[in-house]
C-alpha cells in the first residue's frame, strides 16, 4: 500500500533536528520539480539542440515526472522495510547523482537520464519524510507537522521556476541549479550520518507490491512514449502511438485486475466505488494538467514572444505561482466555512478556466495595460489563474481523504499526489504534441526570407517575424483554450461528485 504511516519511533531522538534535516532535503528536491521550465532554452543549447526543435525538450520535463511517479508509490513501503532515514539518505544520494548527470550532460540522453534519476530520488523523499514525521509525532500532534512537510514541498515547487530563472540569468548559468544540489545533499547526509549508523531505526516487515508498481510504471511509460510527438510536422503523437497506446491500456488493465486480487495492493481499488473518491481523483489530475500547462508555456511565451530572459520569464510566472498558496489557504477556509467541497472546488476550477481564457486572448501588447497602480491587467489574469488552481486543492484533497478509511489516509494522500502528477505528465505530453503540430500546420507554407537572396530582405524579414509570432500566439491560444475547457470539465466533475462525507460508506 502507498505510504503506510505505522508504528511510532522512539521519542529519544532529536525530533526537530531530524525533521529539519529531512525537510531541507525534501525542499531541495521539490525546488527542482519545475526548475527547468525557466531554463529550457540554455539547457537545449548546451546539449546542441536547436530551439526550433522544442519537441526534443519534452523528455527533460516528462522524464522527471515519470521517475517521480515510478518510485513514489513504493517509497513508503521501502522506508518501512529499510528504515526511513536510510531510504531518505539513499534517495537523496540518487537525487544528487541525477543532479550531477544533469549538470554535466554533454548530450540530451544524459540530460534526460539525469532528470529521470532526479525525479526518482526526489519522488521517494515525499513519502519517506511524511512517514518519518508521522513516526516522530503521536497521532494527536501529527497533523500540523504533516501539514508543514506538505507545505514545504509545495513552497519548494512554487519557488523552483523563480530559482531556476535567477540562476540561469546569472553569470553562473543553468548548470549551477544542479551543481549546488550536490554539496547541499552531501551536507544533509553527513549531518544524518550518526542516525544512519546508529541502527536505532525500527525496521518493519512491509509487503511491497512490486508487480503493481511495475505494471503502473510500464503503463505510464508507454503512454508517455505514445504521446511524445517526435516529429510534430507529421503527427501530434509519437511514431509508435499505434502499438504503444494499446500496450499502455493493457498494462493499466492488468494493473487493475492484479490490484483487485493481490492481498497487499498498491492502490485499494475499492476506493473507486465511491464516486466522491473517483471524482476528486479525476479533478485533481485535470488541475495538475492545467498547472503544468501554465508552468511550461508561460515562460516559453515570455521568452519567444515577449523577448524576456530567464529571470523575466520566472518573474512573470511568479505572478501565477503566488496565487496558488493564497488560493490553497482560502480554499481550505472557504470549504470549512461553507461546509461544501464541491462548490469551492468547482469555483476554483471555473476561476482557473476563466484565467486561462483571458490568457488565451493575449497579444504582443498584453503586458502593458495597467490595472491598479503598478499592477497590470496581465498580473491580475495570471494571479486569478493561480488563485483558481490553488482554491481547488484543499476541498479536492479533503473529499478524497474523507472517502478512504482512517487507516488508509496516508495511502490516500500519496494517491492524491500521484494523480496530480499523472495529470501533469499526460496533460503536458498531449498539449506539447498537439501544440507543436498546430504550429507546424500554421507555418507549413511560410518560407523565411534569406539575406542576400531576397532583394527587400529587411522588410520581408520583419513581415516574416510578425507571421511567426502570430503562429506562436495561435498555438498558445489553442493550448490555453483547450486547457480552459479541460478545467471546466473538471469543475463539472467536481460539482457532480464531490461531497463532504462523515465517514466512508463502505467501511
Amino acid at each position: 500500500m502507498i505510504t503506510p504511516f505505522r508504528s511510532p519511533r522512539p521519542r529519544s531522538v532529536n525530533r526537530p533536528a531530524l525533521l529539519s534535516l529531512t525537510g531541507a532535503g525534501l525542499f531541495l528536491a521539490s525546488l527542482d520539480a519545475y526548475v527547468v521550465v525557466t531554463a529550457l532554452l540554455p539547457m537545449l543549447t548546451s546539449v546542441h539542440i536547436a530551439v526550433n526543435r522544442p519537441e526534443q525538450a519534452t523528455p527533460i520535463i516528462t522524464g522527471f515526472l515519470l521517475g517521480y511517479l515510478a518510485v513514489m508509490p513504493i517509497a513508503g513501503g521501502l522506508s518501512d522495510r529499510f528504515g526511513r532515514i536510510r531510504v531518505f539518505a539513499a534517495c537523496l544520494a540518487l537525487f544528487a547523482f541525477g543532479s550531477f548527470l544533469t549538470a554535466s550532460a554533454p548530450s540530451l540522453s544524459q540530460l534526460v537520464t539525469g532528470r529521470l534519476l532526479q525525479g526518482a530520488g526526489g519522488g521517494a523523499l515525499v513519502p519517506a519524510v511524511l512517514a518519518l514525521a508521522a513516526d516522530l509525532y503521536p497521532s494527536g500532534d501529527r497533523s500540523p507537522v504533516l501539514g508543514a512537510v506538505s507545505a514545504l514541498q509545495e513552497v519548494g515547487s512554487v519557488l523552483g521556476p523563480l530559482w531556476g530563472g535567477l540562476v540561469t540569468a546569472s553569470s553562473f548559468g543553468w548548470t549551477w541549479i544542479f551543481w549546488l544540489n550536490i554539496p547541499v545533499a552531501a551536507l544533509i547526509v553527513w549531518a544524518l550520518w550518526p542516525e544512519i549508523r546508529s541502527r536505532r531505526e525500527e525496521r518493519r516487515p512491509a509487503n511491497l507490491d512490486w508487480i503493481g508498481a511495475s505494471l503502473a510504471t510500464a503503463g505510464l511509460a508507454f503512454l508517455t512514449l505514445a504521446l511524445y510527438g517526435t516529429n510534430p510536422e507529421q503527427s501530434p503523437v509519437g511514431e509508435g502511438f499505434l502499438w504503444q497506446a494499446p500496450l499502455a491500456i493493457i498494462c493499466f488493465g492488468v494493473f487493475v485486475w492484479y490490484e483487485r486480487r493481490t492481498p497487499h495492493p498498491l492502490i485499494n481499488v475499492r476506493w473507486f466505488r465511491d464516486s466522491s473518491f473517483g471524482g476528486s481523483a479525476v479533478t485533481n489530475a485535470i488541475a495538475g494538467a492545467g498547472l503544468m500547462v501554465a508552468l511550461v508555456y508561460i515562460p516559453v511565451l515570455a521568452n519567444a514572444v515577449f523577448s524576456m530572459n530567464a529571470s523575466g520569464s520566472a518573474l512573470l510566472l511568479v505572478r501565477l505561482m503566488l496565487g496558488i498558496p493564497i488560493g490553497a489557504l482560502l480554499g481550505g477556509w472557504l470549504a470549512h466555512r461553507m461546509r461544501s467541497y464541491r462548490f469551492v472546488a468547482a469555483l476554483g476550477l471555473v476561476l482557473a478556466a476563466a484565467g486561462f481564457l483571458m490568457l488565451s486572448g493575449w497579444t504582443e501588447g498584453s503586458l502593458k495595460p495597467h490595472l491598479i497602480g503598478p499592477l497590470t491587467v496581465a498580473d491580475g489574469e495570471l494571479f486569478l489563474t493561480g488563485l483558481g488552481l490553488g482554491l481547488e486543492i484543499a476541498p479536492v484533497s479533503a473529499a478524497l481523504l474523507d472517502a478512504v478509511g482512517e487507516a488508509e489516509r496516508g495511502a490516500g494522500a500519496s494517491f492524491l499526489i500521484v494523480m496530480r502528477l499523472v495529470g501533469m505528465l499526460v496533460g503536458f505530453s498531449l498539449v506539447a504534441g498537439f501544440g507543436l503540430w498546430e504550429f507546424h500546420r500554421a507555418t507549413a507554407h511560410l518560407l523565411p526570407p534569406l539575406p542576400g537572396l531576397n532583394p527587400n530582405f529587411a522588410a520581408q524579414f520583419a513581415f516574416y517575424t510578425l507571421k511567426v509570432k502570430q503562429a506562436i500566439f495561435d498555438e498558445y491560444h489553442l493550448i490555453f483554450r483547450a486547457t480552459a475547457i479541460a478545467l471546466l470539465v473538471g469543475a463539472a466533475v467536481a460539482a457532480a461528485t464531490l461531497r463532504p462525507l462523515a465517514r466512508p460508506r463502505w467501511q
Binding site: 537545449l44 546542441h48 536547436a50 526550433n52 507555418t443 507549413a444 507554407h445 511560410l446 523565411p448 534569406l450
Partner: protein
C-alpha cells in the same frame, strides 16, 4: 629454482607464444594507414556523418554542427546554426547541381550553389578534391599511436599536421595561416575512418577551436532525392 630450469624456460616460451599470437599482424605505418583510409572513404557508396565544432568560432562562423548521410557530391544533412546564444536547425539537400533548403518554417526552397555558398556549402566537406578525405593525403608527419575504441570498433590513431590552406577549403572561415593538428581514428584492415579531429586556432589567431567528424554506416548505399518544393 635455478635460472634456465625447464619450467622457467617453458613459462617464458608460453608467454612469448601468447604475446606473439595476441599481437597478430602489425598494422601499417601512419602514412600508409592515412593514405589507404583516404582511398577507402573516397570510394564509399555512402556513409553517415556527424560534425561538431567546439571552442572559439567567432561571430561569423554560424555552423555549430551538422549530421546526415552522404554519397558525395550528394548529401542530405541537418545543420545547427548559432544565432546569438541559441541554436537554430536547418535542413539541406545537395543533389547534382541543385541545392535545397528547409528552414525554420515552411517547406523546401531551391537555391543556387552560389546562394548557398554564402551560408554553408556542406558539399565542400567531402568534395573529392577539396574535402576531408582528399586532405587526409596531405597530412604531414603522420605517426601511428595506440589503438582506441570508437563506436565499438578498434581503431588506430594517426596524428599529423594539416596546412591551413588545406583545411580552409573545408570551411571558408577557417584561417589559411599556419598548420593545424589532425588526428584520425582508422580501423585496420578495413581502412574505415571512424573519426577525424582537426584542432588549433582555426577561427582566431589566439583562440583554439576543434572540429570533430564522426562516421558510421560505411559503404551503406545512400540515395539522395530532390524534395518536393513549397
Amino acid at each position: 629454482m635455478r635460472a634456465g630450469s625447464p619450467p622457467r624456460i617453458l613459462a617464458a616460451g608460453l608467454a612469448l607464444a601468447i604475446g606473439v599470437s595476441a599481437c597478430g599482424p602489425q598494422p601499417p605505418d601512419g602514412a600508409t594507414l592515412v593514405k589507404q583510409s583516404s582511398q577507402r572513404m573516397l570510394a564509399l557508396k555512402g556513409f553517415h556523418f556527424q560534425m561538431q565544432i567546439t571552442g572559439f568560432t567567432g561571430p561569423d562562423e554560424l555552423v555549430q554542427s551538422a549530421q546526415g548521410d552522404a554519397h558525395p557530391p550528394d548529401l542530405h544533412a541537418k545543420v545547427n546554426l548559432k544565432q546569438g546564444a541559441i541554436l537554430l536547425e536547418v535542413e539541406v539537400i545537395f543533389k547534382a547541381d541543385s541545392v535545397y533548403l528547409k528552414s525554420f518554417t515552411g517547406g523546401w526552397q531551391q537555391l543556387t550553389a552560389a546562394q548557398v555558398a554564402q551560408y554553408f556549402d556542406a558539399r565542400l566537406l567531402f568534395d573529392p578534391q577539396a574535402g576531408l578525405f582528399a586532405a587526409m593525403r596531405d597530412t604531414t608527419a603522420p605517426s601511428r599511436g595506440n589503438s582506441e575504441k570508437v563506436d565499438g570498433h578498434d581503431a588506430h590513431t594517426v596524428d599529423g599536421m594539416l596546412q591551413g590552406t588545406r583545411v580552409h577549403q573545408l570551411l571558408p572561415l577557417i584561417r589559411e595561416q599556419g598548420a593545424y593538428h589532425a588526428t584520425y581514428w582508422i580501423e585496420s584492415p578495413s581502412n574505415n575512418l571512424w573519426r577525424a579531429r582537426v584542432s588549433g586556432n582555426l577561427f582566431d589567431a589566439s583562440q583554439a577551436a576543434t572540429i570533430v567528424f564522426d562516421f558510421t554506416s560505411h559503404d551503406h548505399p545512400v540515395s539522395v532525392t530532390p524534395p518536393p518544393l513549397g
